[in-house]
Symmetry: D2
Subunit: 352 residues, 4 copies
């Protein structure tokens, strides 16, 4: 059994991985660590876990929190992992970090990201950066292997955009400065932190775009697409919130370089995702939406072409808290532990 520690256990990202681990055939939760709700059983904070996980939340400096584990998830915001991941690595753990701290391989790339989001551009432990890998297995499966010890889990918007655009970028099929990512997220993407914008009465009938000047996930999208294309990619990105709890629907547009039919585009996508069990490539006539991936690690990627202007349009659906967060994290754990990629993730959700 893989012994797992979850740091940042009391947020949505924390209980997301707890829920998944409870069903995992090879993993066992050893300890839950957080700054909030210390001393309370997790099932008091989140009563749906009662009887399934009643572990008490430990403060970071407690002996229980410091016991070594096989895998440590940092379900924490930017700035936490970079300061404390090394201690876990030194104890022999493999570390999977949810934040932007380990999504980049050099201090320069991190600094650019940090500047974009108004944070200190100096990484607290830059020597770790060369050993990390960006945790989108569909692109980096060969690098997320059992000798890997540190993974930077991707941002939720970024996963949806990258999965929706990677085949086109890899094939150099589109004009690289023509890409637009029009992304709508459910509200859980903002976490459990209270905000007027997420107060039920202010939100139930509200849809809006936000951070029009730039969203932090753009860096990852541009980096990954540039790597695939072998040339710089710049995207226009519009983040929007709509009143669903879970789900991201990203509409992705790019001008095709050659006249391309929907069938040809579909073939390109299906080839690319052969061997990726969580990506479903679908034609424009597919009757799918965000609710069909809710609670699961799947990405439904609908591929179409506007033939009048020869423009590729992809609609990419994920659950922001699963494929966009805890599910990808578990998929990464499976890979770095040498387990089947789908372990603990091969179940449908419920509907409606």
């Amino acid at each position: 059994m893989i012994k797992v520690k979850v740091i940042g256990a009391s947020g949505y990202g924390g209980i997301g991985i707890v829920e998944l681990l409870l069903r995992h055939p090879e993993a066992r939760i050893q300890s839950l660590v957080a700054l909030e709700s210390v001393g309370q059983p997790i099932s008091e904070i989140w009563p749906h876990l009662a009887g399934f996980c009643d572990l008490v939340v430990q403060p970071p400096d407690s002996p229980a929190a410091q016991e070594p584990a096989d895998v440590v998830f940092f379900a924490t915001p930017d700035g936490v992992g970079m300061k404390t991941a090394r201690a876990e690595l030194d104890k022999g753990a493999k570390v999977i970090d949810y934040s932007g701290d380990f999504r980049f391989n050099s201090a320069e790339d991190y600094a650019e990201y940090a500047r974009r989001i108004g944070k200190n551009p100096a990484h607290a432990d830059p020597e770790l950066l060369p050993m990390t890998v960006y945790g989108v297995p569909e692109l980096h499966r060969t690098e997320i292997t059992s000798d890997r010890r540190l993974v930077g889990n991707p941002g939720c918007f970024a996963v949806s955009c990258i999965l929706g655009l990677a085949p086109a970028a890899a094939a150099r099929a589109v004009r690289l400065d023509s890409i637009i990512c029009d992304c709508k997220s459910g509200i859980s993407g903002a976490g459990k932190k209270l905000a007027a914008a997420h107060h039920y009465p202010n939100r139930y009938e509200m849809m809006n775009a936000y951070r029009l000047a730039g969203h932090q996930h753009v860096c990852e999208v541009e980096r990954e697409l540039s790597l695939l294309a072998g040339a710089p990619v710049v995207v226009t990105f519009t983040a929007q919130v709509v009143p669903v709890c879970r789900g991201i629907m990203s509409c992705l547009y790019a001008d095709l370089l050659e006249p391309t039919t929907e069938e040809e585009a579909l073939a390109m996508y299906r080839d690319f995702y052969r061997g990726s069990p969580f990506v479903r490539v679908l034609p424009s006539t597919a009757n799918v939406g965000s609710m069909h991936v809710r609670g699961t690690n799947f990405a439904n990627v609908v591929v179409s072409v506007d033939p009048r202007v020869n423009r590729l349009r992809v609609v990419s659906y994920i659950d922001n808290l699963v494929k966009g967060q805890a599910g990808s994290a578990l998929q990464n754990m499976n890979l770095v532990c040498g387990l089947p990629e789908t372990a603990g993730l091969d179940h449908p959700s419920f509907f409606p």
Copy 2:
């Protein structure tokens, strides 16, 4: 492996049992039967099942639909099971029926129920009625055993009320004509059938009471409570719909015969449900609601007393599609198959 046939597979009740069976360690879905969507893979109708269950929906008269199974679920409305259950029983199957058809043990009791809901009071196969049992394991566990071949699964409102009132009725602790059931249901309780009342724009900000003249589930509640109390019970029942998808919240009131503290009432309830793994008895200070049982087979039963008038008040929360339908059905299957009551049901849901 237990081979399972689901009749009425294309509705919410049908996919509910499919979702649960996919996780069950000892059961395998053999065939899906329905009148609608015949010839389509179930995963085309309900795309969240893609890759998990792609069986084609069979018409009732097809050879595939008529192959014998070990267990047959009738996820069908009133009037279907009474006509076709015998054929399945004759082939050796155990039958679990979702409707009112097998909730009563005599033609007289059935006739009263049928009259109340404006249906033909003559049962189509009254000889089967003596062999059925009412499928609330918390009350009838000793009768839902491996020699039982026919189970009448309870109504969703009824489960919530019965679980919330059974200990008080069994103890004869309350005045039997003082019971009020004020019940709020999510919209999925009405099934997938379209109705103006469940059209999103008409419903998203709408709460309302309905069928004030009488709801069909009252019969079951009164019958079960009367059996427990050993004397006739008449309840006032108010059915309401509020804009959640899943969940029932029933507020149950009854005048206590003796002065009783909350602690005494709690003790009475905890004693009663010792050995019932899916009932959580909770004090009035518990911080729980419908979302904490969503997607699960649990009933959260909050017990309190209004000391100023010595009135018992119980708030009972279930998921109408799980404990109120498919989950109870699977729990019943486990019992009639001699499996642990919790098999395939021992997982938490996701939150939020």
Copy 3:
């Protein structure tokens, strides 16, 4: 033109009265006062008001806030009005207070209320209490007249319960210790203050009962019903929250003393509310719900009888922010200003 000052202008109660005043034929908003958002135009805080009301929010101690007005609304929580209403009264204003501060006519009654909600039982200005009136015009219309200078606007749950039970209490038609108020509110009832319970992801599928040990509005309900009945009334009250934004649905139960038909009960209610333009008395077959009063000052009161146990059941629907708050306040303003009771309130809402 009546010059109006709104204190506590930046909350839901504040903008509620602003929205109504903008349509009022005889009133003009003179100033908006609040502790939060000082110096900002109200239309920056609440952009739907842009172009309709762009007044800047004044701090309480500013000269603009202290200018005399004809009518002052205290859209403020408990404890504010009792300290500052006198200053406004001294300047000649009529005062309508939303909180519990002026709902009681004696220091003793106030103290009991304050104790029940865990507040200081000593009223800050007890000499004002004899001059106030409880602002439910349907019961106190003859006391809310142009020589009245102080009105205590009722609580939202209380309005729905009182309107639903007043005719039965006044007629002494029911057993006075048998009354149950099972009340469901939309989330806006808790105001704009952020709380985990009202965070969209925690609430969208959540219904729950709360404060089972006692809700502050019970005092008002019991006081008003006792006055009507001429004898002490004690009610069991269950407050619940369901995921709608606006609306209260109260199911009210009481044992009838004499055998009574629905028609007789309806007649009793219609008689009582003759001359009350905002109460619609409806039979049990009426197809109505909370959405049909949304945005308006109406109460839809559905009257039925459970004949098997001779129990009265009334379902009372209001908009918690209008009839439950700003609408009643404006109705009270109309009465104390000698205007038609319906001025500025006689418009339908939109649907859906």
Copy 4:
């Protein structure tokens, strides 16, 4: 008083204009006509209208339905107005039609539209087409005058796109084949007609794109933008539904021909909409969303530029049932009746 007849009165579009007319200072509803709900008071079908409009719904062939009126609204789907508008025009009425029947001035343009949506391309009364005008007053105010007798009210998606792109098209500021309209609508946009996709349980957590092969509103958008630009415009259009009741949020993208700052773009938009009381041009930092225009005739148009790729991005918010339907219709009525454009439309909505 202007006497108004509403044909198609029982749908959302019908009650939308009824609600607005009830507040209009110069108009009076003379009759309501529909195929459904004939013989019922409109307030029985839509109980929020009780006491405000209790007119009985007339069948089209009844004498009441055939009485002449000053203005007739056809709140009807494609194909109705083209067959019956002439009869109303012959009686002297001015006609405002909600459907696509009168949005085009020639049989050829109509045929292209009809083909796109799979309808009979032959218009039933093509001689009327030269006399109609496209009812977006912000573009055609000088043609919607008191001698105008026939107006084709625009489609809801089209209004949001046209208002968001018109200034850029008129200025020839963008590349005409680079325009993308990414449009999200609330569910009321599909009307009161029941559909599985709008059944509450299937929709409450669902967002999805639909009709990826082409939406009927594209024709109008392209025609209007082409007229403004003086050259053919082809747009890529993605229609999406998200779980709000009311509202459209359209994200509009186009490549700027010249380097342009947000300030310059804002100035261009403000100039264009000077004199248009219902368009609010806002900078990228504005804190607005769909809920701020709900229930009103406003369009909130947020203008920004992605400087890295010199791309214009406009986010356009309207209420699909008001500015997208009944509100524009009333605005058109005001203009063809020589009334102030804002009559009956100058009120804020409520919030939250």
